[in-house]
């Protein structure tokens, strides 16, 4: 039997008297797109940042492919196969789009020492070009990322998370600030990437935090609903839609 890619067990984090995350457990299976929803202040971002090594949880265990990664740094996590995007745009504004993609995976090639003597593209040119075509940003590939429109930068931002072909990608509000026509584009890109990675054939798993309900319901295989630091429900989009507690607590119906 194949185990989960990500397993979070009884994760807890408090800020002073406020229990931001109060004992959250869930599993993400290989190839699964796992949505996390919840009202503002429900602890989604704290949970996310704990998994990603940005903050240290008070208690609980986080495992990646069966290995404990609870106290790993963001840099170590990426080396172990965890990619991520941030809620706000995080591209390298003064580098070209192509260089943004190259730098996003170069640290997975060879050793630090060998990279000093490696070619500038670290041998990742083909992989970068494939993603550039898939994300339809060929026409801006040699422009500085900071000069692009918000939507284009968002695409670069997401593409960067996939350059190192991670097993697990955590996407923090991939649709925030994106116009409705591009939301559909991002959704279909993520579905494609979920099926086949940039050049490999292995499916990757995603965890997606998002407020856009149509996007989440359409994209995700399973959804976790958080309220006040607790798991309110986990289920398929249809189950979540029909869950009365979720409707009461979150959708306000």
């Amino acid at each position: 039997m194949i185990g989960p890619v990500l397993k979070v067990t009884d994760l807890r984090k408090a800020y002073g008297a406020i229990q931001a995350v109060g004992g959250v457990s869930f599993e993400v299976m290989p190839g699964e797109i796992f949505g996390v929803i919840g009202p503002n202040g429900s602890g989604k971002t704290t949970m996310f940042n704990s998994v990603l090594g940005q903050i240290t949880p008070d208690a609980g265990k986080i495992e990646l492919n069966g290995h404990d990664i609870t106290h790993k740094s963001p840099q170590q996590l990426n080396q172990l196969g965890v990619g991520r995007t941030f809620q706000t745009l995080q591209v390298f504004g003064k580098m070209t789009v192509r260089d943004n993609l190259l730098v996003a995976a170069q640290e997975h090639q060879g050793s630090m020492w060998s990279r000093l003597f490696a070619p500038g593209d670290s041998g990742l040119g083909d992989r970068a070009d494939a993603l550039i075509d898939q994300f339809r940003i060929r026409h801006v590939a040699h422009k500085k990322a900071g000069e692009l429109s918000y939507g284009q930068q968002k695409l670069v931002d997401i593409a960067m998370a996939f350059m190192s072909e991670p097993d697990l990608v955590l996407l923090d509000e991939p649709c925030a600030g994106v116009n409705p026509s591009l939301v559909g584009g991002i959704s279909s890109l993520l579905k494609q990437l979920n099926q086949t990675r940039a050049s490999g054939k292995k499916a990757s798993s995603f965890v997606v935090i998002e407020h856009n309900m149509d996007f989440v319901m359409d994209l995700c295989h399973r959804i976790l609903v958080m309220v006040e630091g607790q798991v309110l429900a986990v289920g398929t989009p249809d189950e979540i839609r029909g869950n009365k507690a979720v409707l009461d607590a979150y959708l306000g119906n």
Binding site: P74, Q75, Q79, Q90, V103, A105, Q106, Q109, M112, R115
Partner: protein
């Protein structure tokens, strides 16, 4: 417009190669001095301009390089051994100076490095048994290269110029390797860089260490150029001046140090006509430059290009609007 960088580059290269034989000793000395500072600020440009760190301690490494050569040559060793020691010592101490940068950034880091500079300067001034204190070290010799004596001012100038080219090529190679991208990523967005597996601590330390090694080479060349060293040129004000050179030239531009050092080394000479007012004129020029060109002199071409693009875009919009109107 595209040819401008090439033409100005060739012009500067021609001047550097051909002008000195026609200059008097003081002119040759100034050109050598300029090149020494090009090497030193190339290192600082890596730390500050490419990797985005702050350092007000660069002159300390310049001093460590100079004293390495002076002390070893005084003890009868060769310049080359002094140069090697200068590079190694600066690299190792630079690595150590990088550690505060792992904990603090911006102005706090600047003050930490400033403290380091002061401490090193005090060692140079107080440890007379080693450095000669304020009396300094005299009669520092010049090296020979493949049996060729570099004692003459012109010969030494060409040697320094050659070293500048070598150090420049090394930096060019470094910046075009994946390390160059990692440094830029560290500067632009360390949090994202870390999430992409970039070992930001490692690259921060390396940016300090490599930058310091450049200052070490420059200091070694400086010692043999001036042939007498004492602590003053390695005090905090020199670090501030070097930082200014990087900022004026254009931090993160490869040729920034060439221009910035020219402003720092040659401009004061040209301003001698102003006599007592020279510092005032220099200060005013720096203020105006910071106001209008905060990204340095080398940002001018990019600014002009951006303006031209904006003009063309608005012309295109006007044309499109006129078409719609008809």
């Amino acid at each position: 417009m595209k040819r401008l960088p090439l033409i100005s580059g060739l012009a500067i290269a021609a001047i550097l190669l051909a002008a000195p034989p026609f200059l008097k000793n003081y002119g040759i000395y100034l050109f050598s001095y300029w090149m020494v500072f090009v090497i030193a600020t190339m290192g600082l440009n890596l730390t500050v301009g490419y990797a985005g760190q702050k350092s007000l301690g660069h002159a300390a490494f310049f001093g460590i390089g100079a004293y390495s050569v002076a002390i070893l040559m005084q003890a009868g060793h060769s310049f080359w051994l002094g140069l090697a020691l200068a590079v190694i010592a600066c690299f190792v101490i630079g690595l150590a100076l990088g550690f505060p940068a792992l904990r603090v950034q911006t102005i706090y880091l600047a003050f930490a490095t400033l403290g380091f500079n002061t401490a090193i300067w005090l060692v140079m001034r107080n440890e007379e048994w080693l450095t000669g204190g304020t009396f300094g070290i005299n009669n520092i010799g010049r090296p020979s290269l493949f049996g060729l004596s570099l004692d003459g001012n012109l010969a030494y100038y060409y040697f320094v110029l050659g070293m500048t080219v070598v150090m420049g090529l090394l930096q060019w190679k470094l910046l075009s390797s994946p390390w160059g991208k990692a440094f830029t990523a560290l500067r632009d967005n360390p949090i994202r860089a870390e999430s992409l597996g970039i070992h930001i601590q490692g690259y921060t330390l390396l940016s300090f260490a490599i930058g310091a090694a450049y200052a070490g080479v420059a200091g070694a060349l400086f010692a043999s150029l001036v042939q007498f060293i004492e602590p003053a040129p390695f005090a905090v004000h020199a670090s501030i001046m070097m930082y200014l050179m990087v900022v004026v030239g254009g931090p993160g531009y490869f040729f920034g140090p060439l221009l910035g050092s020219a402003v720092g080394v040659l401009l004061p000479e040209w301003l001698r006509f102003a006599q007592a007012w020279y510092l005032f004129v220099f200060g005013a020029a720096v203020i105006l430059l910071m106001l209008w060109l905060p990204d340095g002199l080398l940002s001018i071409p990019a600014r002009l290009a951006a303006k031209r693009q904006a003009r063309e875009a608005s012309a295109a919009r006007a044309a499109a609007a006129a078409k719609l109107g008809n």
